[in-house]
C-alpha cells in the first residue's frame, strides 16, 4: 500500500494515550499525523528537560521511564518508515467535520508565537488532549510563589528549576504525593503536605485497591520517601489563606471537621516561599465539544472501542475521564487498533486487545475509588470571602459572583459570566469555571469553547475552503 492509499488518522496530543494510539494504528498500516503542542513527545506525564539543559538523568524524575523509551523508540521507527508524521509545536484550535463527506480537518497554529495556520486532513481523528489541573480559589492564591501542583512538577521535570526553598504542598488528590517527594528530592524543604481528604477512607474501598498491587506499592513508596525526607503529612487539613505582600511568605492551615468545615481554633501559620496547590484534574474536552461529541459529566463519552458518538472521532486518555498514564496507554492502544480496523472497513475483534481492556477496567475501578475519596471539602465555596478574586483574567471577586447569582437573577454559570465577565478572559474560564459553578450552586458543566485556544483573525480569514465532497 502506498502512502496515498493508506487511510489517514490525525492524533491530537502526544502524551501516553496519543503515542499508544499512533503506534497501534501505524503498526496496522494507517498513515498517522501526530499533532502536539510540545516540542518533544511525551505529554505532561513524560515531560523531559529541554536538550539544551544537558540533564544527565531525566528518568530520575520519572517512573515508568522504560515504557516511555519503548513508545519513543516506536515513534522513531514509524517516523523513519514514513508511517507517522510528528508535528511538534502545533497548537490545535479546532477540529472540523464536514457533515456531508465526514472528512475531518484539524486546524492548528504553528510555532511558539502561534501565528501561522496549518490544516491537517484525515479520515479519522483520535482526541488525546489530556487534562489540566483544577485549582480552587482562597485568599492569597494569586500571589507570586503560589503555583499549581502540576506546574511545580512540570518545572521539576522540564526545567529542573527549583521553584523555591521552603514549600508547602496542598489541596487534594494523588498528584500531591509525587509533587511533594519530587520537590524534596530536588532539595526543597517541604514543610507540609496538606491533604483535605482522609486517605484512610480508601481502606473500605480496598477491593479496587487490592486489584492494583502496583499502585499500592507506588503509594507505599511515596509514604516511605515522605518519611525519609521528613515531610509532615496533614490529612483532613486545608489552606485557609496565603500571606505575603509582593510574594508568598507564609500560609495559614486549619484542620477540617466531619462536615467539611474548618475546626474553630485549629488555624496555624507556616512560613514558606512556595505553595504548590492542586485539587485534582479536569479533562480537556473543547475539541470534542465543538465536534458535537456527547459528554458524560465533564468527560468525553466513548464506547468499548474508544469511539465517541461522532463518526470518525475516537478519544482516549484523560479527556475521557482522568485516570493516569497507565489507563491512557491502554485506552490509546485500543483506540489505535479500532481505528485501523474501522478505516480498513472491518469490525475489530476485541479479543485481540483483551489485555489492554483488562488493564483499562482495573485502572478505571481504581480511579473511581480514588475519586470518591479525593474531593474538595464539601463546603469549600462558602469559605471563600467576598473580596477573593475568583476569575484572575477579568479580576472578578467571589462577592461579584454572589451578587450576580443572587439579587441579579443569574441562576446558572453562563448568566453569571454574562453579568460579571468571570470566564471571559484569556483562559476562557478554564481556571475559574469550577469556582463559579460552586459559588452559583450549580454542578460544573463544560462550556462550549469553539476555539480551543486564541486564533489570530488573519488565520481565520485565510482558512481553506472545505475539501470537496
Amino acid at each position: 500500500m502506498t502512502t496515498a492509499e493508506r487511510p489517514r488518522l490525525a492524533v491530537v496530543g502526544a502524551g501516553p494515550a496519543g503515542l499508544a494510539g499512533a503506534l497501534a494504528a501505524a503498526a496496522r498500516g494507517v498513515q498517522v499525523t501526530l499533532v502536539d503542542a510540545a516540542d518533544q513527545p511525551g505529554g505532561q506525564f513524560y515531560r523531559q528537560p529541554a536538550p539544551g539543559l544537558g540533564a544527565r538523568r531525566p528518568q530520575a524524575l520519572h517512573h515508568q521511564w522504560r515504557t516511555f523509551e519503548r513508545l519513543r523508540d516506536g515513534l522513531e521507527r514509524h517516523r523513519a518508515a514514513g508511517l507517522i508524521t510528528h508535528l511538534a509545536d502545533h497548537h490545535v484550535w479546532c477540529v472540523e467535520r464536514e457533515p456531508g463527506s465526514g472528512a475531518l480537518s484539524v486546524h492548528a497554529l504553528r510555532g511558539p508565537a502561534q501565528e501561522q495556520g496549518v490544516t491537517v486532513r484525515a479520515d479519522a481523528v483520535l482526541l488525546a488532549t489530556g487534562g489540566y489541573e483544577r485549582v480552587l480559589p482562597f485568599p492569597g492564591w494569586t500571589l507570586p510563589g503560589v503555583v499549581t501542583a502540576g506546574g511545580a512538577q512540570a518545572m521539576l521535570k522540564g526545567g529542573l528549576a527549583l521553584p523555591g526553598r521552603t514549600a508547602v504542598v496542598a489541596g487534594t488528590g494523588p498528584l500531591l504525593l509525587p509533587v511533594a517527594t519530587g520537590l524534596a528530592a530536588a532539595g526543597v524543604r517541604v514543610a507540609a503536605l496538606v491533604e483535605s481528604a482522609d486517605p484512610a477512607a480508601l481502606l473500605p474501598r480496598a477491593r479496587a485497591l487490592a486489584a492494583r498491587p502496583g499502585k499500592l506499592a507506588e503509594g507505599a513508596g511515596y509514604a516511605a520517601r515522605l518519611l525519609r525526607y521528613g515531610v509532615r503529612v496533614l490529612p483532613r487539613h486545608t489552606v485557609l489563606e496565603a500571606h505575603g505582600t509582593d510574594r508568598l511568605e507564609a500560609v495559614t492551615l486549619a484542620s477540617l471537621g466531619r462536615n467539611g468545615r474548618t475546626r474553630p481554633g485549629s488555624a496555624r501559620r507556616i512560613a514558606c516561599d512556595t505553595l504548590a496547590v492542586g485539587h485534582g484534574m479536569l479533562p480537556h474536552t473543547d475539541l470534542a465539544g465543538t465536534l458535537g461529541c456527547t459528554l458524560s459529566g465533564t468527560d468525553v463519552r466513548v464506547d468499548d472501542e474508544q469511539r465517541t458518538d461522532v463518526p470518525g472521532v475516537w478519544a482516549a486518555g484523560e479527556t475521557t475521564g482522568v485516570g493516569g498514564a497507565a489507563l491512557a496507554l491502554a485506552e490509546g492502544h485500543i483506540a489505535g487498533r479500532s481505528v485501523a480496523a474501522r478505516l480498513g472497513g472491518t469490525a475489530p475483534d476485541p479479543r485481540r486487545w483483551a489485555a489492554a481492556a483488562r488493564a483499562r477496567a482495573r485502572q478505571r475501578a481504581f480511579f473511581a475509588a480514588l475519586d470518591a475519596v479525593y474531593a474538595p471539602p464539601a463546603a469549600w465555596a462558602d469559605a471563600v470571602p467576598d473580596d477573593t478574586v475568583v476569575c484572575r483574567c477579568e479580576e472578578v471577586t467571589a462577592g461579584a459572583v454572589r451578587t450576580a447569582a443572587g439579587p441579579l437573577g443569574a441562576s446558572d454559570p453562563r448568566a453569571v459570566k454574562l453579568l460579571t465577565r468571570a470566564g471571559m478572559g484569556w483562559c476562557q474560564g478554564r481556571v475559574c469555571a469550577p469556582a463559579v459553578a460552586a459559588l452559583t450552586g450549580c454542578p460544573l458543566v463544560p462550556e462550549r469553547r469553539p476555539f480551543a485556544r486564541p486564533v489570530p483573525l488573519g488565520v481565520l480569514a485565510a482558512l481553506p475552503e472545505p475539501p470537496p465532497g
Binding site: 479546532c94 472540523e96 486546524h107 501565528e115 465543538t290 458535537g292 477579568e394 450576580a404 439579587p407 441579579l408 437573577g409 443569574a410 441562576s411 446558572d412 453562563r414 448568566a415 459570566k417 454574562l418 453579568l419 465577565r421 471571559m424 478572559g425 484569556w426 476562557q428 462550549r448 469553547r449 469553539p450 476555539f451 486564541p454 486564533v455 489570530p456 483573525l457 488573519g458 481565520l460 480569514a461 482558512l463 472545505p466
Partner: protein, 387 residues
Amino acid sequence: MVGAACALYAARAGLDVRVVDRGAVAGGTTGAGEGNLLVSDKEPGPELELALLSARLWSELAEELGAAIEYESKGGLVVAAAPDALAALRDFAAGQRSAGVTAVPVGSGELREMEPHLASGMAGGVHYPQDAQVMPALAAAHLLHACGAPVHTGWTVTGVVRAADGAVRGVRTDRGDIHAPAVVNAAGTWGGDLASLAGVRLPVLPRRGFVLVTEPLPRMVRHKVYAADYVADVASDSATLRASPVVEGTAAGPVLIGATRERVGFDRSLSLAAVRALAAGAIGLFPFLERVRALRTYAGFRPYLPDHLPAIGPDPRVPGLFHACGHEGAGIGLAPGTGQSIARALTGKAPELNLTPFRPERFDTDTDTGTGTGTDTDTDTDGGDTP
C-alpha cells in the same frame, strides 16, 4: 431584554408584575447579542419609528442605570468602499433624515479622523450620532432589578390558563400556576411556541448569527463601524449565509465582530465558513485586526417574523394575551419602545406609536403556513454567551 423592558414599564405604570423564564436572566438571544442600539440600519417606516422612540427611552434609562449597563452613546459610522456604494448609502441616509434620523455625510478624508485605524481608500461614509450600545445581559438584569418584580428563573411555562370565554387567566408552569388577567409573550425566538400554548399562531423563526470576540485591546475602534452592504443583509430575505460585519470596541476591551445571518434552524454547531467571513470582513475594514486574536465565538438565534417586523400589542384572538417578540436582530435596541407600548396597552392608554404594523394576528391572512424550517418547535433553552 424585551421581557425585562415590558416588566419595567408595566411596573412603573402601577401594575403588579411577575416575570417567568425557563432559563436564567438573559439566557436566550439577549445573552448572545452585541447590544447594538441602531437607528442607522433602518429604512423609514414603522421599525425606524420604534427605534427612534426606543433610542430616546434608552437615553433616559441610561441616566438612571448608565454605568451599570455599560451604555455608550458612541455613534455609528457606515462606510462605503466604492463610489457607487457611497451614492446608494447617501440616498438611503437622505431618506432617513426626512424620517427624523441624524445622518451626517463624512468625506473620504474625514473618515480616518473619526476612525484612525480604518482601512485607507474608502470612498466615504455617513455618521449616525444616535447609534449607541449597551451590554445586553447587564441591561436585562438591571432593568429587572430596578422594576422590583419577582423573577422566577428556571420556571417553564407549560400552558396558558383561559376562562370559559377564552380570556387569559394566567399561565401554568412546572412550578405551579400564576394567575393574572394579562400575559405578555416576550419569549423571543421561542415566542411562537408560547403563542401556540394559547392556541394562536405566531410564525417566529430563528435566524442564526455568529459573533467573534477578540482579546482585550486599548480603544482602537471608536464607533460602531460597518460597511454599507450590512443594511442590505439585514433587510435580506435570503436563507444562505450573509456576513457584513459590524465592528466595535467595548467598555471591557474586546472588539466585537458580528454578525452573520443564516436560516438554519436552531443549529448551534460552529460554522467555520461563518467565522471566516466575519474575520475577512472585519480585516477589510480594520487591517490591524489581522494579527489580533479571537478568544471566542458564539451563536445566537434572532427571532424573526416573515415580514421582518416584531409582533407588539394585544392579540384580538385571545383576550388578555399580549405579544412582544420577533424583533429579529434589533431586540435590545427596540426593547424600551416595545415595553412602553405594551405598558400603555395594558393600562388602556393610547400608545405613542401606531402599533398597527406590528399587529400579532397579521399573519392569519397569508397562505404561508410558516413551517419552513421544521425546527421552530425545538426546545433548546440555553442562550449563547455574549461579548
